[in-house]
Symmetry: C2
């Protein structure tokens, strides 16, 4: 049975040595984030994840969720764990104090997300989606919703979902058929079917608040094939009295079925049917327009959709972190096994001559799998924490220029975190399973569950190919390529700053090679994409990977710098820093070679990919 | 629900245009393999796989195997399908005519293996292992076993298994604890536990013949930690009367449990307990030595183990072909979906302006996934058929030199086929699932089953890391590197022969680049492995991949040559040959760039991988 030990020391290193968060006193709440404070939070969170959530991970996979008489039953222990989760406040670390939250910045909330997802991804999705849902509702809802609905979602009394996908459409929202028709009282009646709704129903709370996108029909009653008619709605499972917040009658939303899936079986993935369900349009509308708390009028249709996209963006970051999370936990178990399992002898002669065989950690190829995976996990965690920090900066820094820069960077890096991290997370889960040999394929050991669970991350919240297209077609080019230039400028400056330092050469030299290839690739794209947009499409995945290697290489070079400084000063745990230096080298010397191949394939362009007629693909 | 269409045209192209098998009249049975003959066999096999086996693939996954009262029940329909399989003779395509087989060469039997594994891998394993078992028994057993046991395995009345792994040991046979003690009558009594026994029990036939390796204790009754005491045995589920071949009493072998696994759920993976089971030592022994049918005495202990290793080698080839098989079927379904599913618009403007959206095949990145996967599948199939042909040459060619060369090449290429093909097969199953988006994750669509089934291929018959080590430490160096030199010589000659041909330049130029890198890597290994054997270990996986790209590149360049000749002559289906030329280009231009990275990582050597203490991996 797998175990989990949360990487508390690594988070502390990132917070206080790499990012030095406590020095950002200008950002709300950061002055309090002393090492003592973050230790207490991280260790408390670690204990809960290790002792309560992790033991339910295989239980969830084994039992799954069951639909009986229209009601979803979650796996044994999930309901109790969820209550405990909320009682301890883990569900509202980031919520404002006015709502009963701890108002902690996203470096803390995302660190906890990683730990809870490592321990039990299927479970962590229930509160994770609830957070995303109440965040969107707080941003777009009317005062009574904030008062009565958001507050109950923050407390954990109710949960929330995101309802986007329909059977025939996911990414392409303009195809959607779920519709909402305005009623005399300003509410809407919604009809249609949504699928793949994580936590769409369950037995852990009395009410569930669905955040739904749907089309408003035109005056002719027809649905336009047009994004502008898509709006964002709140649809509670049980209706809520706007005056008192009491649950009233059952709304017209029901579970059609739950999906049998490859993994994350502890989370109920529902087909939801909306049959004249009462829906509340968010972001205001001419009929229901009201002043928000701070007195502004919210009228435009797009305010609601902006809230929806905000929810999606947060979710993409969360999914990327799930990639790290499953990487971390699977790797811990894979590594532990290689110290126990014996087979054959080290290639250079017996290491344990008194035993019948050596542990398989003696084999270079086993170490290669573990070290490359470890270099991904810790490099990715560093980038995730850096971007979490950017979220605080973009929202709260005093300087507009700094806010703008942080926002540019976080937008650019979000698709990379979502797609690159989940691809590598899946790779890591597979590598960790692989060292188990045949035992990895057997359910008891829990390793194959990590692979099955990890696989969803590449798919949901926008399949990874969609993320790659978002990167090249939107993020790299937005505002005249400003975000790209900012990112390049940061790396350029770091390289220049450290190029003269001989100790840093093993990190800076390969980083520079990769960075120059990235620059060349971006240049090729600028020249060739406008001639033929398919050249952007054919380059997109290679570009995503190239960015990923460079971004993590930059993080590793920074971590190497910090580690060298500590070692030179004789401070802290030398073994910790030496290990970081080795992992930095492993990342840079083993991933940077791939960047030449990425660039070479980018420069091929799209012609060969587009040469075949569609029918020839199924010949 | 997935569908399957066997790639009959591709096999015919490989047989009659690439390999020109019918021209090898010197090899037994080859003169009969005219296009008409192979078409008839392939089409008959295709029909059976498509219509009988494929519809049971999801059934097998859904129901799995059940152990009730000590007996394994296979999924609904498996028993009937197995009977039909044997009645139609698909289980004995390659068996000698004297045993009721069709005596067809391995190009045919492996082609059928691919088709049956595509249709239903879990099912195909039952007859596949039976073939491996009766092959080994025919090679090492006594005359009565051939007469009564092998004949029943060939007819399909009984099945067979391979019993190697124990709970604490797989690859390292010398650790094994199952033991067999000789009795007065020359039989042995076996005690111990074997795990991961595919088809270890089932309800499809009355008897099962287990091919088991176990240790013979020394005179002191103790088991030596030594491979020389490991022997090869036949252990029937029900004992067999040597005179009549009738089943007599139940032997002391029973099913302890069946494993819950990630995939291939239609195949029963058993824990088998041997409790004083009667076992027959194979390969002869002083007490039981008899003349074999052709009059030779079989005495040495190693004759039995040679039979076991022969069985393992055939199985490794079979597993590599399972990698192609799952790649083919998953890709067919992935490709078909991209022509149906619509989302958004082509990057260059709407392709189907009258519809609400374009099919996703318009996207270059979707095409990239499909084309790279397709180039793997068809390149791998060509190499598999080439090596299948080598098996016939090594056994039957008149010229000793030719036999030797074929044997060298097939030995060298076997670990590459096993490991590289199964890694890429898993990648292909994942790519095919990925184009389904969220629908790929749902069981109904069957795509995630391909991923789960494909995953076993990287693990069983020697985990892929073990194959990589076999390649660098054994196959590349055997007989002073003779096999490596032969392989290099073939590619070198092909390049020289075609270098002057401008039409061939798009294929020869990148092939040469990759080939030169392979040569450089081999040179590095020759120089650095003797200094430190860990340098062989650290290079092993990169070397395997480098060989894989070159070997498939060589196949693609040959297929391109044939296709160009046909196009220039105006013969055959021009679309077929143009498609082959495109795929050849896709393989060479998109995989060869990776070879630079493989070489670069090989040249890093083992030092960084070995730098950390084992304990630091679990810190």
């Amino acid at each position: 049975m797998p175990t989990y030990k949360a990487p508390v020391e690594d988070f502390k290193f990132l917070f206080h040595e790499l990012l030095e968060i406590e020095k950002r006193e200008d950002l709300p709440g950061f002055a309090d984030l002393t090492p003592d404070m973050t230790s207490a939070i991280l260790e408390g969170g670690a204990k809960f994840c290790e002792e309560v959530l992790q033991p339910l991970n295989q239980v969830g996979d084994e039992h799954g969720c069951v639909l009986e008489n229209g009601v979803v039953r979650t796996p044994p222990g999930f309901k109790e764990a969820f209550q405990q989760f909320c009682e301890n406040g883990w569900n509202r670390l980031g919520a404002p104090e006015s709502m009963g939250g701890a108002n902690l910045p996203s470096v803390i909330t995302f660190a906890f997300s990683e730990m809870s997802s490592s321990a039990n991804q299927a479970f962590a999705m229930y509160p994770g989606l609830t957070n995303a849902a109440y965040g969107a509702l707080a941003a777009t809802g009317e005062p009574w919703m904030k008062e009565h609905v958001v507050s109950r979602m923050v407390s954990g009394e109710w949960t929330g979902t995101m309802c986007l996908t329909e059977p025939h459409c996911g990414t392409d929202l303009k195809l959607m058929r779920t519709n909402a028709v305005e009623q005399e009282d300003g509410t809407y009646l919604m009809n249609g079917t949504k699928i793949f709704i994580s936590g769409g129903d369950h037995d852990m709370t009395d009410n569930i608040i669905h955040m739904v996108i749907a089309k408003i029909p035109g005056e002719d009653g027809k649905l336009a094939n047009d994004l502008s008619t898509v709006n964002f709605f709140m649809v509670p499972k049980f209706l809520v009295d706007p005056e008192t917040g009491e649950m009233t009658k059952r709304n017209g939303v029901s579970v059609g079925s739950i999906e049998k899936k490859m993994g994350i079986k502890g989370n109920a993935t529902c087909v939801l049917n909306f049959d004249n369900a009462v829906a509340y349009k968010l972001g205001g509308s001419p009929k229901t327009a009201k002043k928000t708390e701070d007195g502004k009028e919210v009228k435009s249709k797009s305010a609601g959709m902006a809230g929806m996209f905000g929810m999606m963006n947060g979710a993409r970051m969360g999914v990327g972190i799930q990639g790290i999370a499953v990487g971390e936990v699977s790797l811990q178990n894979g590594a532990a096994y290689t110290l126990e399992r014996t087979a054959g002898r080290a290639l250079t002669g017996a290491q344990n001559p008194d035993d019948a065989a050596d542990p398989i950690i003696v084999y270079p190829d086993v170490r290669r799998l573990l070290l490359q995976s470890r270099a991904f996990v810790e490099g990715a965690r560093a980038l995730a924490m850096y971007v979490s920090m950017l979220f605080s900066v973009q929202n709260n820094a005093a300087d507009e220029k700094e806010r703008e820069e942080a926002s540019d960077l976080s937008q650019l890096l979000t698709p990379i975190i979502k797609a690159y991290f989940t691809d590598k997370g899946f790779e890591t889960a597979n590598a960790s399973m692989q060292v188990f040999g045949g035992h990895g394929y057997v359910r008891d050991h829990g390793m194959e569950q990590f692979v099955r669970d990890a696989r969803i991350n590449q798919v949901y919240e926008g399949a990874n190919g969609v993320q790659a297209l978002d990167l090249v077609a939107r993020k790299m080019t937005m505002k005249g390529g400003r975000a790209t230039m900012t990112f390049f400028g940061k790396i350029d400056a770091f390289i220049k700053e450290n190029e003269g330092n001989a100790e840093m050469a093993p990190y800076i030299t390969p980083l520079k090679v990769a960075y120059e290839r990235l620059g060349k690739a971006a240049g090729w794209l600028m020249e060739n994409a406008p001639k033929n947009y398919n050249n952007a499409g054919s380059a997109s995945y290679e570009m995503l990977n190239l960015f990923g290697v460079v971004a993590l290489g930059w993080m590793w070079a920074q971590m190497a710098k910090v580690s060298l400084a500590k070692l030179n000063a004789g401070e802290g745990n030398a073994d910790f820093y030496k290990r970081k230096l080795l992992l930095a080298k492993v990342w840079l010397e083993r991933e940077v070679p791939n960047t030449a191949a990425y660039l070479e394939r980018i420069e091929l362009g799209a012609d060969d990919l587009m040469a075949l007629e569609a029918d020839a693909f199924v010949a």
